[in-house]
Amino acid sequence: MIRGVTHRMLEELSWKVGGQQGEGIDSTGETFATALNRRGYYVYGYRHFSSRIKGGHTNYKVRVSTKRRLASADYLDILIAFDQESIDFNIKELRPGGVVIADEKFHPALPEGAGAVLYTVPFTQLAETAGSSIMKNMVALGASVYVLDLPVDIFAGVIHDTFARKGQKVVDQNMEAIRQGYNYMKEHGDNRAKLQLKPAAGSGQHLFMMGNDAIGLGALTAGCRVMAAYPITPASDIMEYLIKKMPKVGGVVVQTEDEIAAINMIIGAAYGGARAMTATSGPGLSLMMEAIGLAGMTETPVVIVDTQRGGPSTGLPTKHEQSDLYAVLFGNHGEIPKIVLAPSTAEECFYETVRAFNLAEQYQCPVIVITDLALSLAKQTVEPLRLEAVQIDRGKLVREVDPSHLNGQLFKRYAFTEDGISPRVIPGVKGGIHHVTGVEHNEVGRPDESAANRARMMHKRLKKLEGVELEGSLSFNGPEDYETLIVGFGSSRGPIEEAVERLNSEGRRVAHAHIKVLAPFPTKTLSTYTEKAHNVVVVENNATGQLSKIMKFFGISVPTRSVTKFDGNPFLPGELYQELKGLV
């Protein structure tokens, strides 16, 4: 037990709120996180939930730091509990000196031997005093900032933005509830556990987004005007975001009857000249495979977002995994050119989504943007996004045809060219008539199954990406003289960065390569880094080490070792550090 006054100056803080699903746990976490993000801290918020609407334990964990952090902390400093289950479930994460603030209503108790300080606060009762028991979450926020020695006004802006449309009275009541929590702690709390957070270094200009938000905004900015999708966790936010925004830009989102309809609809839309996308997760991706082949065969530019979750089948629908690599690379039958981009931060989600639309039209092929649940759903601090960095490049799109050049023939939509990419005309253009078919076809798109044409057309399509390594296929960080190279992709960037930082601070020589383009695979670039390493360790959230096998498949010849985790949760930085420590 901690006795006496504890004042600790923290570089970072880990805070969690837990309760029953449906109790507003998410919004409590988001309000806390947004307020601290606005204050200039780097914030990472991760929600733990199940696919139930109401009931069942849920929690929202927020990490607040003076530097960029892209993972939850291994530990907790403050736990807000709305029920005993939240205490029992999360107490093991509390580090010594940690604080539990719990609603008096359920007579909270700490398990025997727990090294934490418990404050019992009448959340519900104080919320009623402020106006309504539903504001018990706000009371908890007030109590939290008292412990942190922060003023209640840090919430004023967020509360205003959240509730202003419901009227000033609601704003005032919520702020009052926050003050009630703060004042109660001030009057009744002792100073057993006062924590102090180092002042923030950030400007306060940062954004706070999840990967899905950034993908939605990226699509809108890239000129996507048709989206078709079927609801699925953890992808639905992208559709929901675009449904809100499309009316502003004259676009449309269709909630289709299934994922097969979604992919075929966007193929139709892209053929028609729109920038079009769908977003799904593993089960939906499986249903889309035939049509992804059609997009490849007909050279139709579409963007497909795959937000990975735990598979196979329904698997772990609300949990994290990175096990769709084989599917996105090799899932469709037959052979087509395909681009797969793998952003690792919300910021990258924005820019890579924009890039996906450009690449789709430049190479006239399907582009898959692959994320994972942690990247899609965790909210993180994002540097201001720059519209001026967005360029729309529609590749060889043709909007006018001089019919005199056709000599009565159809438009050569699939003309054999040096780079394999042909002029693409859209329906409606005079002189542009041609055929499009998933059957092997000739230059004007008419079915032609002759051996010579087949060979030439296959070569034409595959040539588009042959030998291509896209810009920024991977990022590298680390000392020049590294001995161990850690390779990862997607949201594991956060835990890897921290583990590497810790190992290097202990005198190890570890570098980190994070792959951002999975197809065409950056064999050349990656091997310049792997060749220099004594030891290559691949970190990924799946059971079979898909990335490490893919590296070998694409010609990375050095032996690799794998660190995998597939229990539905992302790596925690400390946990990964421990694993890597034994390997470097």
Binding site: M209, V249, G250, V254, G272, G273, P427, H435, T437, G438
Partner: protein, 287 residues
């Protein structure tokens, strides 16, 4: 102005001589010319099967997708370019077997497209298997002892799903079929024309003669009112689905007309650059 000839191309269909699909092809070409459309203003989107090849046999833009998915592709195309006349076409296997789910939802969604089904009650391209519209007891390669399943009734399904325009035609009645296709294209919303289009090679039951003996032509009944949904359903049930002519029609706004913020100018021709003010507004939500 384009004539029927302008909608013909020099491609010889791979259909058997006598196939009902030739009449459907001709009816579409005539209807397009009668409507005063130019070839580039039209796109035919089709699925897989003998009839699915039709998108390559008409001189318009043509898209031949995967099996059963002509309707989703056609809807996507229409959303991208609402100025285009979009016709989806295919067979009974494509539309009412593998694609039946899409059909019901396309009806509900009600985009302004026309769906023409060449219904021959058999799988022809795969050489004679039972189809979803094959009758109970029908013998084919996959039902050597007779079909123990019951046929799907396309028009009943369409009416039950709330369709705004449904007609049936018969390949032997090409003038009527042309008129029905014309009217379906003119209709502002999702229109189905289901055509009895006999397979002369594999279906020895549902032949031209068989249809002639069993079909009821609604146009011969002056009392028939195609604006009465209940009557329409009753008629279809009474005739075992074997009625031709306009079965039901109801005016209402199409999907495109109901999309919030949708512009009259097709998406395909819009400037894609995002207004900086809209971008700023979007970004501020994440501050």
């Amino acid at each position: 102005m384009a004539t029927v000839k302008d909608f013909r191309n020099n491609v010889r269909p791979n259909w058997c001589p006598g196939c009902g699909d030739f009449s459907v092809q001709a009816a579409i070409q005539r209807a397009l010319a009668n409507l005063g459309l130019e070839p580039e203003q039209v796109a035919v989107v089709s699925g897989i099967g003998c009839s699915g090849r039709i998108s390559g046999y008409i001189n318009t833009y043509g898209f031949h997708g995967v099996h059963g998915r002509a309707l989703p592709a056609a809807q996507g195309l229409k959303l991208a370019n609402r100025d285009l006349t979009v016709i989806a076409a295919g067979g009974d296997g494509d539309g009412f077997g593998i694609g039946l789910g899409h059909f019901i939802h396309a009806v509900r969604r009600n985009l302004d497209i026309t769906y023409i089904v060449m219904d021959n009650q058999i799988y022809g391209l795969t050489k004679g298997q039972t189809s979803p519209t094959s009758a109970h007891g029908f013998k084919a390669k996959t039902t050597p002892n007779g079909n123990i399943e019951h046929a799907v009734g396309p028009v009943q399904v369409a009416l039950a799903a709330g369709i705004g325009f449904v007609a049936q035609g018969f390949s032997s009645e090409i003038n009527q079929l042309t008129r029905l296709v014309e009217e379906a294209i003119r209709y502002k919303g999702f229109a189905l024309v289901n055509v009895f289009s006999p397979c002369v090679t594999f279906n020895k039951v549902n032949t031209y003669d068989w249809f002639k003996q069993h079909i009821v032509n609604l146009e011969e009944d002056p009392a028939y009112d195609p604006t009465d949904r209940v009557r329409a359903m009753q008629k279809v049930l009474e005739t075992g689905g074997l009625c031709i002519g306009l079965i039901y029609k109801e005016e209402r706004p199409s999907y495109e007309e109901l999309i919030p913020g949708f512009k009259p100018e097709p998406i395909a021709w819009q400037n894609l650059e995002l207004d900086p003010a809209v971008f700023e507004e979007c970004v501020r939500e994440f501050a």
